[in-house]
Symmetry: C2
Subunit: 315 residues, 2 copies
């Protein structure tokens, strides 16, 4: 069986998107290190262009298109960062982008997508409404649909963050990323298995959106109809392609309560002086309860983003 | 006349405190760079130990003492970061520290000082009350008094931040720091004049605490009896020694309204994803109105700290 995602895809993505994304710094999480008696290396994708890793996958997808395919533009449905990231990647290549958004998306998110020059198509706020609108848009325009995570090209782009992390810190014992749809975790897992085979790989997930944890145990995707978590970036259910990669390469998923996520997010703001969103804090909150105790280990985590509404903080 | 502070003092301080303070990173302020058409290099002392540059001067003061002098300990009065910094520096050398604090200091600040093992002496919340209590403490214990800013050893320590900045970015056209008591600005000015003589040097100050601006114009210190600003680190009046250095080396002071300080602080949180306090944001808010327009220039600023009460944000 052909693999969904190979390390060569991630290497190629890294070469393709170089210069279009920020090589983000790796910071030590000293306030947690003392408590855990471990070294904790944070790949700071909160400092990435647009405040999240999403631009990696979107840029790789847009730059992978042939000139003929690209001419018709790209399209996606998104209520989050992927829509804005795809819009920016498309604008940089000089091609049109269509983003299907639920009518009830926040004004903040609509503005971000519009500012990058994408055409916004409003739809009913249901998954069927989104997918129908996207299919119609693609049929009418010929645009290539770029899924937020269930696409090997997107997964390969997201994997470049872990590639950079291993290049900078070559002897990690354990790697954690958040898992929402599974794009970041898939890319991270494939990069890690190739570069550091002995390194453990865990996903971290809110208890109220634990579809990845359930699905790995069930052996099939268990969709989460009503996710309930403060982590707005982790409410999606994993897709068939990301699930296939997770089953093959990921050691396990760690589930964390929202209260613990918010507490560690606040600790990072207060002590590290960097802004991370709840969906990023989940990996640090998970360090207390990983199946392999982290004591004495060198741990790498991907702080996936820092997009927070400062008028509505979760504490 | 002998100079208050020489560059050799700053070089010596850097050697003395190496390993006890963090060599903080320099980040670009890209959201402001586009607007100003300038390059803006931020020396991130918000990432410094204890979240502010103060540990530099306190450590230099403690390590400069002879063994005989150090044996009696150190003392200061402080309602802010200097007291905690001196406490930590003293604990690291294994000597006692006394910190005189107004009775009405916040529980947060009392706890920080106590956690580093200092003896807290409460006093009436007036400058006379503080100074009387400190004099009594020094007389009884023999402790060496370490002033928060009006002391060449402290000023030399604070100057090491600018030394590192110039080492990393050797061709700055203009440097700005906040000015409260003037310790950071004094050290920065002497380091900058030595390393990059053509570089302009400005202080940035809230309009509601513009004693440095007034004093430079008057030719003598004009104390600020009732400072009124959101910048809690910039309410002190400059001292005789810092004033002497400022008159000699600083080009001018830029005054900024609190509303502009809070606005740029929020922009930095939202776009740079780093936490800075109002007393640090003042330098970025000042870039719009520097006497020398910054357009086309390479500008260095010292982001002095990131200690913010997350339950009481200024917006």
């Amino acid at each position: 069986m052909q693999e969904v995602l190979n390390f060569a895809d991630i290497r190629a993505a890294a070469a393709r998107i170089a210069g279009q994304v920020i090589r983000t710094p790796v910071l030590r999480c000293t306030p947690l290190e003392a408590e855990l008696d471990a070294q904790v290396f944070c790949k700071c994708e909160n400092f990435q262009e647009m405040g999240a890793f999403k631009i990696r996958g979107a840029t790789n997808a847009v730059l992978s298109l042939s000139a003929a395919a690209a001419a018709h533009g790209v399209a996606t449905h998104s209520s989050g960062n992927h829509g804005a990231a795809l819009a920016l990647a498309a604008r940089r290549r000089g091609i049109p982008a269509w983003v299907v958004m639920p009518e009830n998306s926040s004004a903040f998110k609509k503005r971000a997508v519009a500012e990058y020059g994408a055409h916004i198509i409003y739809c009913e706020p249901t998954m069927q409404g989104r997918e129908a609108a996207l299919a119609r848009c693609a049929a009418e325009t010929g645009a290539v649909v770029v899924h937020p995570f269930n696409d090997p090209v997107v997964m390969a782009g997201q994997g470049t963050a872990a590639l950079e992390l291993h290049e900078e810190i070559p002897d990690l014992d354990l790697v954690l990323t958040p898992v929402g749809g599974g794009g970041l975790l898939s890319g991270t897992a494939v990069a890690t298995r190739a570069l550091r085979p002995a390194c453990r790989i865990f996903g971290a997930e809110p208890l109220g959106a634990d579809d990845a944890w359930r699905s790995l145990r069930a052996g099939h995707i268990e969709p989460m109809a009503h996710p309930d978590t403060v982590c707005d970036g982790l409410r999606a259910t994993i897709g068939p392609l990301t699930f296939a990669v997770l089953r093959t390469h990921v050691d396990d998923i760690v589930r964390v309560a929202d209260a613990d996520i918010v507490a560690v997010m606040r600790l990072v703001w207060e002590r590290m002086k960097i802004i991370i969103e709840p969906s990023a804090a989940v990996v640090l909150a998970a360090l207390d309860t990983t199946p392999v105790a982290v004591k004495g280990l060198r741990v790498g985590v991907i702080l996936s983003g820092g997009n927070v509404d400062l008028d509505h903080l979760p504490w």
